[in-house]
Assembly symmetry: C2
DNA sequence: TTGAAAGCGTTACCAC
DNA sequence: GTGGTAACGCTTTCAA
């Protein structure tokens, strides 16, 4: 375990100079630089994280978190993880400020970001709305050397340094695969319930699902309806869908508001033989799995979505660790027995 | 973020004294102690990990890893994770020594441990054989203040400080749950293939499976055979089982040597309508899932089994963090689409 | 262009 | 019993 001190001694220079070389700071003689680099190589030096973190504490890092203030209880788990990482990072003299924005206008998110920047954040984690204004704002921060990590939903065209979240298409494909496995009768007549048309993840999941459905002869999507992630609306549209399509024997809920939809299934006495697959592991969904109405749910590691973005920012700004651009969470399958 | 320095200043004592109080070292006046404790409380002090780690590097920590030298390719993934954590911890002046023991005699494991202790390890991670001699050895280390973490398979009666690995019963129950979901005909006639009778995890998985089977009217276990985790043996016993039981329509492989068993299924032309469920995600299993012969496999996060035990030892010995006793890995379900 | 030294927070050792 | 100080590895600032 070679240290900067070792390199300095062997190169016959001071630690300060070694630091300048290793961090590509200017103001060092080319000869000195190459000498130091040679020694560094020969020692296979890797910087000590504890030392770097300790030193970085003088920076008084502040991070901002912005998430669309959604009613979806999925985000409860994200918030729990957020508060745990907040407490963890506070031990390194590092503060975290959280802003939930209520509506779905990008104005709210942008205002929240501006406010955080004014408060002096050095990095931003955001569960972004899929809107152009947010992309622009992220790029603006990038120019100010404030790195951004997106989570839950990505903005691939922005200059965010990383994304943490689900691979939506894979989730959708997994649901389709499960449906095929569970199918008893050899012919799937499927009702799909989307959430919000404007949310990337809901639409992408459906695409993934369709990818598999297309190449499977006995999977037929009867219709797709939209719940707007609202329980009452979901109840209504599912009722309508099932009433007009007695042949439906499988339902795919791609978003929240699952409970309302399931209520409709029960009211119409259509539980028997009905395959119901969902996403995420919120309490109401768990209850319906226990009950047997839902057979399986596909999840996206909310805890990791809460912690990893901040960990990435912290590592980036303290020990200079460049993150992977795409950090996909696992596509987890839960049934009654492994809930 | 209060530091020891703050506490020292506010209590009117030196940092050394504060350190003595906080770490319950003796040789400090009761009055001083209570004064310091009071101040500490009022500041909600939490020690800084970076500082502790940095300071702990002077201890020159060495950790030993012992695992039964199994042919099971599952352990390949564990080894990959081991080498990644080895490289990670080497940055903190911390060395890791790995010993694989070939046979299944406890003598080998005990010898390996002795050797590591002689080399001066401060902690041990072990995938232990389920034998009395190993338990005794762990307890002996405990007396010498060398903490042990078991992984992959637990020894709950020993004085190990933690276990990292699967909840076997839950794995077995999950397999049973999947089987019920996939069942097409409404009556499961099941063949179970065990691995090693002496390995706790194989037997426990079967118990978990039986728990669910018992309370399900249409699940009937036809017979249980043992492969000794050997491919040829597995091929032979599965061939025998299927030949004498034409009614079998579902197979549960609880351990390794899956490939041989699947070969038998194909040779006998029994793929059609046969449900095949397995554990772990080794290359040959993945191929059989792609092929469609195996419908699902239940996994146990090998990477976490490789890294977490050492992380636990490191945290325990550097920052004094007491681990949870039971660190269960997730019971992951994989099908073709989320492989 | 380079060196020296202080500082991040904790622990350990040597004086008193 | 207690205080002072060096040490862990890195960064940064001030002098030279």
């Amino acid at each position: 375990m070679a240290t900067i001190k070792d390199i300095a001694a062997l190169s016959g220079v001071s630690r300060g100079t070694v630091d300048r070389v290793l961090n590509n700071r200017k103001g060092v003689h080319p000869d000195t630089r190459s000498k130091v680099l040679a020694v560094t190589k020969s020692l296979d030096y890797r910087p000590n994280k504890a030392g770097m973190v300790l030193s970085a504490q003088r920076k008084n890092l502040k991070f901002g978190v912005v998430m669309f203030g959604t009613n979806n209880p999925f985000f409860d788990d994200v918030r729990v993880a957020l508060s745990s990482i907040t407490s963890e990072l506070s031990r390194y003299n590092c503060e975290i400020m959280i802003r939930s924005t209520p509506g779905d206008s990008d104005k709210d998110q942008i205002d929240a970001i501006d406010e955080l920047v004014k408060a002096g954040i050095s990095g931003l984690a955001i569960a972004p709305q899929n809107q152009e204004g947010v992309v622009k704002k992220i790029d603006e921060l990038y120019k100010k050397h404030i790195p951004t990590v997106t989570f839950n939903s990505d903005l691939p065209t922005s200059k965010r340094i990383a994304y943490v979240g689900s691979d939506y298409r894979k989730s959708g494909r997994t649901i389709a695969g499960l449906m095929k496995l569970i199918d008893h009768v050899g012919q799937l007549e499927i009702g799909v319930v989307g959430g919000l048309r404007s949310v990337l993840c809901h639409t992408e999941r459906i695409e993934g699902f369709k990818d598999v459905a297309k190449e499977t002869s006995n999977m037929h999507i009867v219709d797709t309806v939209w719940s707007d992630d609202d329980d009452l609306k979901c109840h209504e549209v599912v009722r309508g869908l099932l009433s007009s399509h007695p042949e439906i024997n499988a339902m795919y809920f791609t978003a929240g508001a699952i409970e309302g939809g399931c209520r409709a299934i029960k009211e119409l006495g259509r539980e028997k033989g009905m395959i119901v697959l969902t996403h995420d592991k919120v309490p109401s969904t768990c209850a319906l799995i226990e009950e047997g109405l839902i057979q399986a749910t596909v999840c996206q590691q909310p805890a990791i979505q809460g912690t990893m973005p901040l960990q990435i920012l912290f590592d980036y700004l303290t020990i200079g660790e460049k993150p992977k651009a795409l950090n996909y969470t696992d596509t987890e399958i839960y049934i009654k027995e492994n809930l």
